[in-house]
Symmetry: D2
Subunit: 352 residues, 4 copies
């Protein structure tokens, strides 16, 4: 950490600053510049000291030069984290595609969609049992029953499952039924939830808050990692900007940046990231080209009648299958493997 | 709600749209314009229908013309909500000032600060027992003990108390000790927490998410109101913008806008809204001039050594007292009453 | 300036960095920290060197600790700049109110409005002769004729005049007729225009770009000051955020921040800053409470028929007059003087 | 256009609204809904009327349902615009790559870089002769001399040239020397410049303002098109958000959205869009995957010593060549053609 003084700071104030630093058992390294003096701190600095210094007379700025997260940092863990679940590897060479409806609606619905996801080449079934909704009068999900339906559909079709958990008290039950637990954008800084996920024993997909910086996302991941759970995926799902044509602005630079700052896998969500079905295909391809380890995509057999009203961003099954065919060609160009070969053509009689 | 078709939508698609509307038991009112046809829906529209229509062929846009919140809306409740707690009225003519440290640190600290808040003319003691922190390694508050210390200090000095509650499981204990429960900016859309607060029996101060729209804030309030708790205050505490000189951009237009859209009291938080001590005074005055029903201000006897490091935005006691003296003159100019007369001058021997 | 190296930077790279610094005739002050080395630069650093260093192997960050503007900085010019024009002082104790229509429409219109501005206590008549418009098919202003009409109205009623200039070639003609030239938000970084204004001989009101940082605004002012024109006012007029209920988000913290960083007067524009008539009154008061040196407010006798369609944010004359009466009481509470005594009551028969 | 009244608007106010509409020679189509009345306008509506209506008593909202730009709209011009310059087609199947330094520095520099751009497979040489700079003390470009150097280098190596023009008075000289004129992000709404470009006789690349909406960008293009120049390319170059790790947030959704709303070619600028060299490669690939018609990329033989200090975002020649090799494989997957076959391997002895 560095303390920058103003150009009018007298010697005795600089001496005060040095005294405060040394009182904490740290060394102070003073450099006199052309127009101001800079004091470097040597040793482990606690945040209170930083703020204390920031407020001292004569101090213009205090600059942190080390990151506030450790376990999530690539400095600390240079190798990529590869999360292995029942034969699927997330964070390695394989491109992982998660597909499914916004919300689980019925056993038939989730079974049919699971079959289509599998047939198209997807490895993970997504679906919401508990739904976060802006207003209290919107459909809030069907709850635990939905978890069970999804687990059965996943098992039958040979797919992993991922579902959102919204509150600490539901972590255990979600962890019982799902292979991956998802933290939604509004809960990225629900710290009690993050702490609970640190001990849940299942991998976690952590969505970036729609106004969270990269640094805040990595600090949120740190909560889970610090709890003892090493299996965290980061998910870019669009940020809030002044542009209102798209629901969010999908920030694809987040993919290479997060992979550089951290060793954790990075997943892109072009469905929520754009909010418009016609943009899911180009933004999925762009995400893979930017280096994403995986995609999470909404798909529905009857999006016009989806229960959440998020159908507007869901692909039809044939669009989903066609996209995955295209990704099969695109992935190798950026060092990823992806195969749709498990997909028998006849699977698509259903649906579309 | 209105459905807008594109300029090339053929008659049969318009007929399809009308059929879908009528199937739901609603009336469709078709107006043919110069370059497109617009269809109005008459009757109560559910959100799924809206989204269904949005995705139909030939539909360019669907415009909602009614608000998604009801109980929070001034249309529904034209009179101001005035929250009465032990003789203090929030939302009426009185300007309410809440002051205190970021975090409760010790019985002596909170007692001393409570005395200074009271002496300066404040009516409410603020202080955090549970603290939301971006990273897991920062000080997280002293917990239930802090609640007790604060309750005692409030009682001794004749102040109401307000404290943040971060998770549903702590609502009951916080409601036992504090007069007002606060929802922090990161929890504005923690829907389980909001639901629990709907039945907690204590008034709630709901902070705007740092990237929440007015509409989302009012929908979050709706969750609490819909649970049966009518005593909600809205709090503007700064939004996230591209400007990084201030920690947030305090959006004072929110004050008159929220008072126009809603009947709930609006409180301003210039401490978090700016993140800089020297801006608290001008932004407090500006908040009152813009019509705020109250202010929530951080004050600390020794901000340089506060445990959270938020001291950088805390006023010193003498600054706090001087500000309240100024507000006493300013308030009547905008139709508010505020008196510091309870403040004996000698109270300020302590502190600074 | 400070160069921060990463924790793995070897000694020879640090030596390289020092060599580059010394080659430029500067001194390098090396401090070895617990986990990284920091190198301070002593002497005048040019921007190319900064960027060169930023890209060198082993460099993690380069932090500027001096501001890029000089003449606009309070460090350089500690006293407030007070701009004196025909007896009006802008930047001193006096609160200055500029009022008038969005666009000059006819001699009668501007004459009537000028009478009302004067009667209410305003000191400056605003009005656009050249209008910047988002689309090419909107009304673009009446041009030079409008300048003449405005100059005549100002002279007759004893008001200064301010008008926007959009392109370098019109600076001379605008400077001939108007007392103050205004740079609009879209032109804040029209550098050729700024350079030309540096030699125009008239005071300039420089509006903040709707996405400009404080630093960029002060650098834009620096262009004008560096050209030899010391009479620059800064104007906060709202920034673009995700909130779309208001046209812009008026950032009132800009007022005290700019006054702290710079010696130039700061004017607030609550009309464009909110885009809604009903918010102009509370935001005008809030601006003054925050310390603004002046206000620029749209007022129109018949806003529903204004030629630009900006009438939606224009006050009616009686609202304008009532606001100024209120400001007369508010101003002294924040150390400003303002008098409406020149306003004979009968002047308001006209208007609404 | 649609006028929406509030739920309490009495009949006589609705009659007033209808009267105002009919006075303008338009038809009013009144639909009474369950809780409010909606009035559709049939005929060509001018903006003043819209605003007039918005302010009338009883009106809650006025919704525009047609776009404000026409010539730029795909509704008006369904086929893609393909701009043909000396055998290069921009906007058709071909992927167009523009490369070169931020600023032209010397005949040798631009000649060497032109050779490398050509060798790598680029079709257009970029380079700034006039540079927009935030502060007045930064290097401002070498001016007309630079134009001549660039024209010579382009001619020698068989490349088109593109350069930025900042002010109307330089349009003619730039048009004399360059094949494509570029409007920078800060000038997107410099309307006099746009008007002048409407008659300049050369294709224009129009960069999106860093806080401009899609709608504003298309309106700015409309200024040029309305002046008689049909050859406009739109350029996404990053928008300003709260995230400060990257210089801007490259909004790749803009590519498919603009191609859907407009027929004009869309170019991506990953250099300015990220401001970081290591992100240029993944974001270039992502841009092509999202459907971009072309890329504009900074490349420099000695970025550490570039005169503008923008070297931090410039690729080294070997990185540029390797990227284009990769794009050659990627382009066909999204329906574009691109060939680097003109690039003899030995050309790259120079440079790195």
């Amino acid at each position: 950490m560095i303390v920058i003084t103003s150009n009018t700071t007298p010697e005795e104030q600089i001496a005060d600053i040095v005294r405060v630093i040394e009182k904490e058992g740290l060394q102070a390294s003073v450099s006199k510049g052309a127009d101001r003096t800079v004091i470097g701190l040597i040793g482990q600095v606690n945040p209170q000291l930083a703020e204390h210094l920031r407020q001292m007379k004569g101090v213009e700025n205090v600059v942190k030069i080390t990151k506030s997260y450790k376990l999530a940092s690539r400095d600390f863990h240079p190798e990529n984290t590869v999360i292995k679940i029942k034969g699927v590897e997330i964070g390695g060479d394989e491109l992982v595609v998660m597909g499914g409806p916004c919300a689980v609606e019925s056993p038939e619905q989730i079974d049919e969609i699971a079959g289509l996801v599998k047939a198209a080449g997807g490895q993970v079934l997504r679906g919401g049992a508990f739904k976060p909704r802006t207003g209290p009068y919107s459909f809030q999900g069907i709850g635990v029953e939905g978890l069970i339906m999804m687990a059965e559909a996943g098992q039958k079709h040979g797919l992993l499952t991922i579902t959102e958990v919204m509150t600490p008290e539901y972590v255990d039950i979600c962890a019982e039924y799902a292979d991956i637990l998802q933290v939604g954008t509004r809960n990225m800084q629900n710290f009690d939830l993050l702490r609970k996920l640190g001990t849940c024993g299942k991998p976690v997909l952590l969505k970036r808050g729609f106004s969270a910086t990269y640094d805040e996302l990595l600090n949120a991941a740190e909560y889970i990692l610090a709890g003892g759970n090493p299996d965290v995926m980061l998910c870019e799902r669009g940020i809030r900007t002044f542009e209102s044509y798209t629901r969010n602005t999908l920030d694809l630079s987040a993919i290479p940046v997060l992979q550089q700052l951290s060793h954790l896998p990075v997943i892109s969500d072009p469905s929520h990231g754009t909010g418009r079905r016609e943009l899911v295909e180009p933004m999925s391809k762009a995400s893979v080209a930017a280096g994403a380890n995986g995609l999470i995509i909404e798909m529905h057999t009857d999006p016009d009648n989806s229960m959440t009203g998020d159908g507007v961003q869901s692909l039809f099954p044939d669009q989903f299958a066609a996209l995955l065919k295209d990704l099969e060609k695109l992935a190798p160009l950026v060092g990823r493997t992806f195969s749709t070969s498990k997909a028998p053509a006849e699977a698509f009689k259903v649906g579309v």
